[in-house]
């Protein structure tokens, strides 16, 4: 997404921004980053609506399996650990980018992708085991809401993984420069955001489920 912030003269622009972070140095850096923050606000509201729906129909199990019957502590705990760890490695990637270390930046991005894949793998196997038990999203309103809320988060993570692979390729090809720095920074925002949403899923869906 390119843009035109022309009232700054080119020479003045490079002069005034030398002290700024790499991702803000091109004219479109600040615009894209602000735009992405606002996008995250819309995405947050999307999840808020899904959470609200889940909370309204959480107990509507229609004689089928309840959250307490279904959720198993080891599974969602490992998922949580993997995702939180991936958020940490994502931050390490940005940290290495600040130190202009391309190799380590790529390394941490790859670790982040792998942790993300691990998370998705466990989530998919969790879903499959529920379905084998007959707890499909067609069974009750509760299960519809559960699969949709957690599945929407999962598809966000999957999309993030594909996106991150594309960015890894670009960093490998073009190195650490303002465009890539912006991309790494923005996917970092996205990744942390998904982590925060997961923390709510962990508490509102899983913890509440096993405790109630």
């Amino acid at each position: 997404m390119s843009t035109l912030n022309h009232y700054k003269e080119p020479e003045k622009q490079s002069h005034s921004t030398t002290s700024e972070l790499l991702e803000y140095q091109r004219h479109d850096g600040p615009l894209n980053i602000l735009g992405f923050w606002i996008f995250l606000a819309t995405d947050l509201l999307l999840f808020a609506c899904l959470f609200a729906t889940y909370l309204v129909i959480r107990t509507h199990v229609d004689g089928g399996p309840t959250d307490k019957d279904l959720f198993e502590i080891p599974g969602f705990t490992i998922e949580t650990i993997l995702l939180l760890a991936s958020s940490f490695t994502g931050s390490l990637a940005v940290y290495e980018m600040r130190h202009n270390d391309k190799k380590r930046l790529l390394g941490w991005l790859v670790v982040t992708v792998l942790l993300g894949l691990g998370f998705i793998g466990i989530e998919v196997s969790e879903f499959l085991s529920y379905i084998r038990e007959g707890a499909t999203m067609q069974r009750s309103a509760f299960l519809s809401a559960f699969f949709t809320l957690v599945g929407t988060h999962g598809s966000h993570v999957s999309l993030g993984i594909i996106w991150m692979i594309s960015i890894i390729r670009q960093v490998a090809k073009y190195g650490i420069e303002p465009i890539n720095a912006r991309k790494v920074f923005i996917i970092g925002l996205y990744w942390h955001f998904l982590d925060i949403v997961w923390i709510f899923i962990f508490t509102v869906v899983y913890m509440t489920g096993v405790v109630s």
């Binding site: 390119s2 609506c49 729906t53 999203m137 309103a141 594909i162 390729r169």
Partner: protein, 655 residues
């Protein structure tokens, strides 16, 4: 084999209605006509290069405007069909099923495929120019937004001839819209058409908010922003916070329908009321999304045509912001009769009435701006003057509806129909037309004919009151919305008949606008100054139509009403051009990707409509590939050389 195809086609295409066969023929002829004309004039390349791939906000604005006017025509025809059916008791012009489809498409099209794109047209045309910017913050995304809207609207309208139209009202309440009661693909067309164009609307909201926050000319502080831009800020904030709720409501209903889930069904623990809540959490803010920019237009118009700065600028800004916040706390007034507790109903009743206060402030500010002004009764001002009493009346009936106990009497009656048409036509449509007349010379370089515009104005306005005033009485007499016919003993005949006459008068008004546009293309007064109305804001400081890069030199702003201030100082952008050397200008390159991506969205949506999952998956895959291609594209910008800028400015007579 042949039998197989025939049975498929008889379900796939809508059959058995002479009106629809006629439309089939009209659509095919229209398409053949377009293809023939483009091929004959060798314009395909031009269409692709100049329009389809454009990322220029001015051209995108024009495409939005053309689509919105076409949709206004279709929505208007729907309205006339309904009024024809209801003009007399016991008519058989339309049957119940057909009537259901028509009121559904009328409502959906008018709000989502007419009002929204019309507003986005004006956002695109005016906002960057008023800010002194060369484009929006994300020109590529802007093009994506337009094409998503376009293909969303196309998908929705396709239901007319393929598969069958949605028929559950523009609010699409479950459980009626669940598979058990509504099998046909019509409802899927509704869900996917709106979903696809809704993604575009959300992107537009983000785009314009960032544009206004980040791309203002030097010296243009927030409190020096033109009021139209402030109203766009307010509207974008609401888009950003309200549209996700619609996305979720539509997605969950779609999941119910295609995956057999149970969010809103009557069985297996579903809760239909949840949809209605989510829908109106978006739905009520939506009316402010469309009306706040109209307020912005009125502010610009009143100030320009009174030759005065706006009265109470700060209170105007504050009331816009208050409305954008309070608009979130009123949604349950759409169903006071649901049976919520008195406490809940009181909260939403009071919040709904509160909106009247900042709105009242704005009305008084407009009146005080006119007070002792040198008022010129040009078309934009005429529509603004018509808006004030019309909207005041619509507001007053709104307060009546907000009184929760009384609402039990008015709920879903024609009183409600009259109320919201008065606010949406008197508030939004009048504003859209005022804005269209106001910025038309800036878009196209010529003004629309005043005389024909006045005919349109009087037909439309008189028609409006003749059409909707009787409906208030019909509401009191017990006529409910969405009835397809009535018996003569109800005593509703005369009011219905008068109302239908009014609808036809409005239709004639619309035809006058069409004639006016066609006439003015040939004979309209050319605008050579770039400032036909003696305007106050920066869009009037440059040539009409604006050159590709908008501003050869970005103006320095020192006052509110920046252009008025420049004129007062004897300054102009021509003088700036003479004083300062031209520099190369950095611009975004055109791209075909937004169009291709929207086509894939369309393919995917069409697949979901008919539960052809291979097609849906193929479309989504295409969308993903487009995004990756875009992410890897490092060649999306270029420079216009300084000599070319100088040449263009010289050709416009501005050096």
């Amino acid at each position: 084999m042949f039998e197989h195809i025939r049975s498929f086609a008889s379900h796939f295409f809508v059959t058995g209605e002479p009106m629809i066969y006629a439309s089939d023929v009209a659509i095919v002829l229209f398409l053949v006509g377009i293809i023939f004309t483009l091929t004959y004039l060798k314009k395909w390349k031009w269409l692709w290069r100049e329009w389809i791939t454009t990322v220029d906000h001015k051209k995108i604005g024009i495409m939005y405007l053309i689509s919105a006017l076409l949709m206004m025509f279709r929505g208007g025809v729907d309205a006339l069909l309904m009024r024809t059916q209801l003009a007399l008791p016991n008519q058989t012009f339309l049957d119940a099923e057909h009537y259901n489809q028509i009121f559904t498409t009328h409502g959906t099209i008018m709000i989502l495929f007419m009002a929204m794109p019309f507003l986005f047209a004006l956002f695109n045309i005016a906002v960057p120019l008023q800010l002194g910017a060369r484009d929006v913050a994300f020109p590529f995304l802007n093009s994506v937004s337009f094409w998503l809207f376009f293909f969303g609207a196309l998908l929705f309208n396709l239901s007319f001839v393929i598969g069958g139209s949605p028929d559950a009202g523009w609010t699409s309440y479950p459980p009626l819209t669940e598979l058990g009661f509504d099998k046909g693909p019509g409802e899927n067309f509704y869900l996917l058409g709106i979903q696809i164009s809704g993604i575009g609307s959300m992107a537009t909201g983000i785009n314009f908010l960032v544009t206004i926050l980040k791309m203002r000319a030097p010296g243009m502080t927030l409190m020096r922003l033109p009021l139209f831009c402030w109203s766009v800020v307010a509207s974008c904030i609401i888009i950003i916070f309200a549209f996700p709720a619609l996305t979720v409501a539509l997605a969950l209903l779609l999941i119910d329908r295609v995956a057999d889930a149970h969010f809103f069904t009557m069985l297996h623990g579903g809760n239909p009321m949840m949809f209605i809540n989510l829908f109106w959490i978006w739905g009520h803010p939506e009316v402010y999304i469309v009306v706040l920019p109209a307020y912005g237009i009125y502010s610009e118009v009143v100030s320009t045509f009174s030759g005065k700065k706006i009265f109470g600028y700060k209170t105007m800004v504050i009331s816009l912001m208050i409305i954008s916040v309070v608009s979130y706390f009123v949604w349950a007034h759409h169903y006071f009769t649901m049976g919520a507790s008195a406490g809940v109903n009181s909260f939403f009743a009071v919040a709904s009435m509160l909106i009247g206060i900042p709105t009242g402030v704005k009305v008084f500010n407009w009146l005080f701006t006119m007070f002792r002004g040198r008022i010129q009764l040009k078309l934009p001002m005429l529509w603004t003057l018509a808006f004030i009493p019309c909207f005041a009346m619509g507001g007053a009936t709104g307060i009546m509806l907000a009184v929760a106990p009384a609402d039990y009497q008015y709920h879903n009656s024609y009183f409600l129909i009259a109320h919201f048409h008065q606010t949406l036509i008197g508030g939004v449509a009048f504003g859209l037309l005022a804005g269209m007349y106001y910025w038309w010379p800036k878009m196209f370089g010529f003004s629309l004919n005043e005389r024909l515009g006045r005919w349109a104005f009087w037909f439309f306005n008189i028609g409006f009151y003749v059409c909707f005033m009787p409906q208030y009485f019909l509401g009191f007499m017990g006529m409910t919305r969405r009835v397809y016919t009535y018996s003569g003993d109800t005593g509703w005949t005369s009011f219905n008949f008068i109302s239908s006459i009014g609808a036809y008068l409005m239709g004639i008004g619309f035809l006058f606008i069409v004639v006016q546009v066609l006439y003015s293309i040939k004979y309209g007064e050319r605008d050579l100054t770039g400032d036909p109305w003696n305007g106050r804001t920066l869009e009037w400081a440059i040539a009409s139509p604006a050159p590709h890069y908008n501003f050869a030199h970005i103006p320095e702003v020192t006052e509110r009403d920046a252009w008025w201030d420049m004129k007062a100082r004897g300054e102009s952008l021509i003088k700036v051009n003479q004083r300062m050397a031209f520099k190369p200008i950095h611009m975004p390159k055109n791209s075909g990707l937004p169009f291709i991506m929207a086509v894939f969205f369309f393919i995917s949506g069409f697949g979901f409509v008919f539960n052809w999952y291979w097609m849906a998956a193929l479309g989504l895959l295409g969308v993903g590939i487009c995004m990756i291609v875009r992410s890897n594209n490092r060649d999306s910008e270029y420079y216009i050389p300084a000599e070319d800028v100088e040449k263009t400015e010289a050709a416009l007579g501005r050096v």
